[in-house]
Symmetry: C2
Subunit: 331 residues, 2 copies
């Protein structure tokens, strides 16, 4: 039976909050996603989209505050309250486009970690050349990792690929600077053995090109490297689009080409930027927590809400808990 | 006065050696680059392009041998001999498309390091959105780095940008997962202070997108991260090209668009892949050492030869020596 509980949405998180957030909520509601807005009800009065529920949370965490602010100084902040509503079972998932450090700290503190998980990684999907999707994690939640953390990410990413992407036996790769065993830095070489020892379809070291071609379904790395890889994909697409448009502009007969290219590029970006999924999911915590881009517009906010509900519908947390308990805890 | 000495070329390094290497040498000779081929003269007999010199080096280092092979087991290998010819002043630069680990080990061992440099980084350029070029280093020679190594890379990359790209005051950035000071992992946060203390135009932490847009001229990172970034750029271009062609194929009216796109894409790849410069240069050693792609074809080999000569002509090593002595050694 479908879960009828709403998705909690931080109304005051993001560069364009609350306007873009409220528009995104309205869009998601029109698409059948129930939404519970969390924020200062005084400031929301008269602006709440029809059909949305509201919960009061008077404090706002600004972008220049420390990540621990919702834990210490602002216990009534909207970015913390969404996760309390999730923990208490009022909502089925929580979404914020606010201060990502504060979101990660709040989610981990409020929801708690699943068995055997020490560090919660951020995870998203990147389209592959073969039409499949590459699950990439960590994207930046943990910039300094030990080998066992990478092994935990492998388990979490694999459970995600099974539960959400519906893959039967996701192939797990370890991001490295070469495919042979023994490649990688000290951290990666040590993680190789740890991941190999787990009951996963581990395909060893994978280079970025191999991963983007489809040599694995889940690509594991630390948050510093994963952030560089994701942002390099995004940056290269931007530069490639710009350069291609310039190349076509040089040709007097290229008007038609430019027009065709514009449409193709728009669809390509939709498949590629992580606006299309609306954000990254924090794995390893006890609840579906989605962290959107700070610069999310209404469409990206609606995507994040749909994505959060899809992850909840897929039974993601139960699936991750089962695998993390089986693979990461001593019986 | 122009240096009339040839560029030494390892005739037996690369996936398509010696055929592609000899064709590349012929192409470079036709473009006015003097070439000295190094390899087993028995195997080269009757195949040497007109105008090329030849030096005998009977041993070949295979791709599955350890990187130390030319130092220990095969002192007469072509991949080592090119650097001895460079050290002895017979040639002005050396190029190999062979075993890259063996090339790095041989170059460092034979040529020696410049003052104040502990680790030699591989360096290439990536085209930026603004039409400029981004100097990226290290690309994989040093996968585990200390903060002081990143500071050395900053000095080396800056000297390269001045000498070869002719920039007056290259802006040096540190690759990180955010622009604010304090972003980055432990290594990057420590390197920030080390680079800041040097007399360079340091612009702080730079994200991949910012770097590709043109926020800095030199981007410093360890060899593991740099390898991931470079290969992600290459991989994304491949995937983007494939997806765009597929998008256009779906449209019945897109024949013209496909045709235009093919030309634009070819030119774009020429600007972007590092075949266009022919390879990476090893900085910090006492000589111009260029390491080409193992899969280099004749055109890429010729590019590498032209590139090596251009770096020598630009007085790269003298410029690097001056800066490394001034900035990295205690007087």
């Amino acid at each position: 039976m479908a879960d009828l509980r709403p998705v909690a949405l931080d109304a005051f998180g993001g560069d364009h909050a609350p306007e873009a957030i409220l528009e995104g909520a309205a869009l998601a509601l029109s698409q059948g996603v129930p939404v519970l807005l969390v924020g200062d009800t005084d400031r929301l009065r008269g602006r709440v989209p029809k059909g949305a529920e509201v919960v009061h949370a008077p404090e706002i965490v600004a972008m220049d505050e420390p990540a621990t602010s919702p834990l210490r100084k602002k216990p009534n902040s909207s970015i913390r309250r969404i996760f309390e509503l999730l923990r208490d079972g009022t909502v089925q998932a929580a979404v914020t486009c606010g201060h990502s450090g504060a979101a990660l700290a709040s989610a981990q503190h409020v929801l708690g970690m699943l068995p055997g998980v020490d560090r919660a990684p951020l995870c998203t999907v990147v389209p592959r050349r073969d039409g499949g999707q590459l699950v990439l994690l960590d994207l930046g939640a943990n910039v300094d990792c030990k080998p066992q953390h990478l092994a935990q990410f492998a388990v979490l990413g694999e459970a995600y690929a099974r539960a959400v992407l519906k893959l039967q036996q996701p192939r797990v790769g370890l991001l490295a600077n070469g495919e042979e065993r023994g490649k990688g830095n000290t951290q990666v070489r040590a993680a190789y053995g740890e991941i190999e020892a787990l009951d996963l379809a581990f395909v060893g070291n994978i280079e970025p090109l191999g991963a983007l071609r489809g040599e694995c379904d889940v690509l594991v790395c630390d948050g510093f490297v994963g952030n560089v890889m994701l942002k390099t994909v995004e940056g290269t697409i931007e530069v490639a689009g710009h350069v291609l448009r310039e190349e076509l502009r040089r040709r007097p007969d290229a008007l038609m080409g430019r027009w065709l290219l514009a449409g193709a590029f728009r669809r390509f970006r939709q498949r590629t930027t992580y606006d299309s999924v609306g954000g990254a999911i924090l794995l390893g915590v006890d609840g579906v927590a989605v962290v959107g881009h700070g610069r999310a517009d209404a469409r990206a906010v609606a995507s994040a809400l749909r994505y959060a509900r899809a992850c909840a519908d897929a039974g993601l947390v139960a699936a991750v808990r089962k695998d993390s308990t089986r693979l990461l805890t001593r019986a």
